[in-house]
Symmetry: C2
Subunit: 114 residues, 2 copies
DNA sequence: CTATTGTTTAACCATTTAGTTAAATATAGA
DNA sequence: TCTATATTTAACTAAATGGTTAAACAATAG
């Protein structure tokens, strides 16, 4: 167990910082799936996939429903929404920047001779 | 240097998976700042802050303008926008889920006796 | 030239991450 | 019960992360 509690956003962004885990999220967005179905998509061992799933669970992005020997995973939207919210705060910032850039580009095009 | 090139999204999400770096992003959203100004907000050494900045630069989220001995940092919007885009793909997914949840809650409230 | 300021780089260390293989656990089927 | 299936856990390893202090570098000031 971790000595100190991590910020939930730390965990969500960390979970997303890995292509394998992003692919898992992608697949789970289509609907619930058992571990083995997810593992089929990857070349690594089942144990490795199992660990990736655990990371997503710890970040509260995925939940598990055990039915017999199969563990069905599903996406939990809340934490992802929080991550989106965090980034969204900077939307205005970059929209302004991009508009400014677009304006510069357009001005230059207008002033071109051919 | 890294042996293999990392997926840019890996780097952006990894950069965001640290509270210190998120605070740096927050401050830079207000405008350009020299390294020392940023470092003032944190209890860690300047060298540590310098490393965090390097992580943000490697992720192409921050750019540097050297003027004399001061290095001014600014936010670069594109990569953050890409991260937002990635998460946004799942917006419909969770909106649907949340609506469903809201509907259930409302139904239960309607059926309550007091 | 020398000292001071702003910043990075180097060397080091503890912890975490991402993978491995092998063993353990739990359920289902013959 | 014995065996196969679904999955986790343990033990290990290599590499990355996040911090430290000390040294190096660059630019300005006296």
């Amino acid at each position: 167990m971790p000595a100190v509690k991590k910020d939930p956003l730390d965990q969500v962004f960390m979970a997303l910082a890995d292509g394998t885990r992003r692919q898992i999220v992608k697949r789970l967005a289509q609907g619930e799936l058992p571990v083995s179905d997810i593992a089929k998509d990857f070349e690594m061992s089942l144990a490795a996939v199992s660990k990736h799933i655990k990371v997503l669970e710890n970040a509260k992005m995925v939940s598990r429903r055990v039915e017999g020997r199969q563990h069905f995973l599903s996406l939990v939207p809340e934490q992802l929404a929080d991550a989106l919210d965090w980034i969204s705060i900077y939307r205005n910032f970059w929209l302004k920047r991009m508009d400014a850039l677009a304006a510069i580009v357009e001005t230059n095009i207008e002033n071109q001779e051919d």
